[in-house]
């Protein structure tokens, strides 16, 4: 069944189809519609879930922790400040190995107040132990939401499904809604490995001394590594059932490219358009979309980018004092490649606080990359801010 819907509602539909059992959420623009729709679904009985209307995002995540620890499939959605408020509890979900799924609508952080998109909110949570999946379209949002539960429960790690504010959250697109039966077959009810159970009383998360804490973190890391493989399998399974495969990364017109753009989120769609136009003009330009940020698809990116002379990474985020976060991660992923196969990585800071990343902005980035290449293949020492007033 196809339906035209906003990205936010695609999340809601995914949550419903996943037969989520406990939802705890707090309103924040531009996420609010996710939980509004879920409220409707719960009150109409379409979705048999307990919806806890908590008094903060912090409590939303805390309630999800309680529910997930007790064996329930738990979900919340948030954005920006709300995600920042959750920060402590995100660690708890990650360290506690709880398969919670959260949708985060990328929104810039205050001050100054801003409700539009950029990725600093989710990327600030890089080290909380969450899997992060960045979506490009409403269809991908819906598909990824369902996949996220499967992934989370397979590896006992929480998953954050990320979508751009307004470009996805509030933009209507046709979305193919999978049949419930098919989704049920793909994602059976959760069977917790261990849970709060009066018939098997145990404590969870007790004090761990230096003698054991490190091993617990090692197991978390191993689960993250497992998640890479597991996600590939899940994408394959989903693809086999529904025909759509949105893997950890995706290469687009990368064959023989001299410059590869690396993008995430909706900038990818705009970049596809730019690449199409440039390819039509015979320029050897391609694109690699990064969907999975944690665990970082290091090996896949090395394969995709090795031997390409120049890589231009578009970052809708900034780690102040350093640079674009994707660019940094990609540079370190490629560092071990043999020098002759190691691309020159050019970083560009674009579209912060919801500023439009138009084809012109992307072409500007490519032009700068070409210029830098012509000047002796040396990338700028610092990532360049593109589309800013001088």
């Amino acid at each position: 069944m196809k339906k035209v819907m906003m990205g936010n509602h695609a999340v809601s539909w995914g949550v419903k189809l996943a037969r989520t059992e406990v939802i705890a959420a707090y309103p924040i623009t531009p996420q609010t519609q996710v939980v509004e729709a879920l409220s409707e679904m719960c009150s109409s009985g379409e979705l048999a879930a307990r919806f806890i209307k908590v008094e903060s995002e912090h409590s939303a995540m805390a309630a999800c922790i309680g529910a997930s620890a007790t064996g329930a499939r738990a979900f919340t959605a948030t954005s920006s400040q709300g995600l920042a408020l959750m920060h402590e509890v995100l660690h708890w979900a990650g360290g506690g190995r709880l398969p919670i799924v959260m949708a985060n609508v990328n929104r810039a952080l205050a001050p100054a107040w801003n409700v539009w998109t950029d990725q600093n909110d989710s990327l600030s949570q890089r080290d909380t132990g969450w899997i992060q999946l960045y979506c490009e379209s409403n269809q991908e949002v819906l598909d990824t939401t369902i996949q996220a539960f499967k992934l989370a429960e397979a590896v006992d790690l929480p998953v954050m499904v990320v979508l751009d504010a307004f470009y996805l959250s509030h933009t209507s697109e046709p979305v193919d809604i999978p049949d419930q039966e098919a989704v049920d077959a793909f994602l059976p009810r959760r069977v917790a490995r261990v849970k709060m159970d009066v018939n098997d009383p145990r404590s969870f998360g007790a004090l761990a001394t230096p003698a054991v804490y490190m091993e617990m973190r090692l197991r978390q890391q191993e689960a993250m590594e497992l998640a890479r493989v597991t996600y590939d399998e899940i994408v394959e399974e989903w693809g086999g059932m529904f025909g759509r495969r949105n893997g950890a990364i995706e290469s687009y017109h990368a064959e023989g490219a001299e410059i590869l753009l690396v993008t995430s989120g909706t900038i990818t769609s705009t970049s596809r358009h730019v690449v199409n136009e440039l390819r039509a003009r015979g320029e050897k330009v391609g694109l690699v979309k990064v969907k999975m940020f944690r665990p970082f698809p290091t090996e896949a990116l090395r394969v995709a980018l090795a031997g390409v002379p120049h890589v231009a990474v578009l970052d809708r985020n900034i780690s102040p004092g350093h640079g674009g976060i994707f660019a940094e991660e990609i540079r370190s992923a490629l560092y071990d490649l043999a020098p002759e196969r190691r691309p020159r990585v050019h970083g560009y800071i674009v579209g912060l606080g919801g500023r439009d990343v138009t084809p012109a902005v992307i072409e500007d980035c490519l032009a700068r990359t070409r210029a830098a290449a012509g000047a002796g293949n040396t990338p700028e020492r610092e990532d360049l801010w593109v589309g800013v007033k001088s």
Binding site: A24, G66, A67, E88, M196, S203, A206
Partner: protein, 298 residues
Amino acid sequence: MSQIQIKDQIPTGELMSSGHFACPGCGGSLAMRLVLKGLGPKTMVALPACCWTIVAGPWPQSSVNIPLYHSPFETAAAVASGIRAALDMQGDQETTVLAWAGDGGTFDIGLQALSGAAERNENILYVCYDNEAYMNTGIQRSSATPWGAWTTTTPAGHPEARPKKDILAIMAAHRIPYAATASVAYPVDLIRKVEKARAIRGTRFLHVIAPCPPGWKTSDDETIELARMAVLTKIFPLMEVEDGQTWRFSMEHPGDPVEPYIKRQGRFSHLGPREIGQIQLDVDARWKMLERRVEMGI
């Protein structure tokens, strides 16, 4: 029988084990032991940061024979809400979800989550064991610290300058079905309240005074005596509030003078007769207010 015999009124089951890491004479440990006697094994607990984080035992140990979730400091009520929701989805209405927090986690950092849960009337039992300061971190004042008390952040030269927060009134103001106070010196009353709370649906709040020998600067063996004196002096009256409206005293409070209670505790040793007189006046004034609440229902 002239001796107040209580053994027949105390459930014999033990859900707490020995070997826990509480300080000798810990009121908070006894509080848990008694509360669990009232609740029985069909109980799950959300445990935020507090002394009990340690008392519950380091991994891989647990000092309680019920499921226990170690939770962030400010999240007891929220985590408990989530546990409750999951149990609801599993059709388990029998298990009691207990949030077990200290005064810091209740009066201060956890108040928001507690207020949220209470306002939603989450079907949980929230117990605050109150030792009147941040004891696990080494005795810093909380908003449950009484006026005049020394802590490491309210040194004797500038002791606690504000009265203890009236958490019972705050909880009553949420119009929850049941809120009460209890003391480890009155186990029958405490367990009766726990059993009563257990049978009620909705948010139930129990505020238990739990003396702390290291934090109060008292001997290890004085815990129960102090918990008793706190009640008898009306400093910590035993009360119940139903639906936020019907206030009731749980027993006759003789109103013993506060001075012996104050004088026994090192944390008040810097106080002179004038300050102790002031505490007495405050206790008397608060008592009048409580009496009005009991009379009128506020």
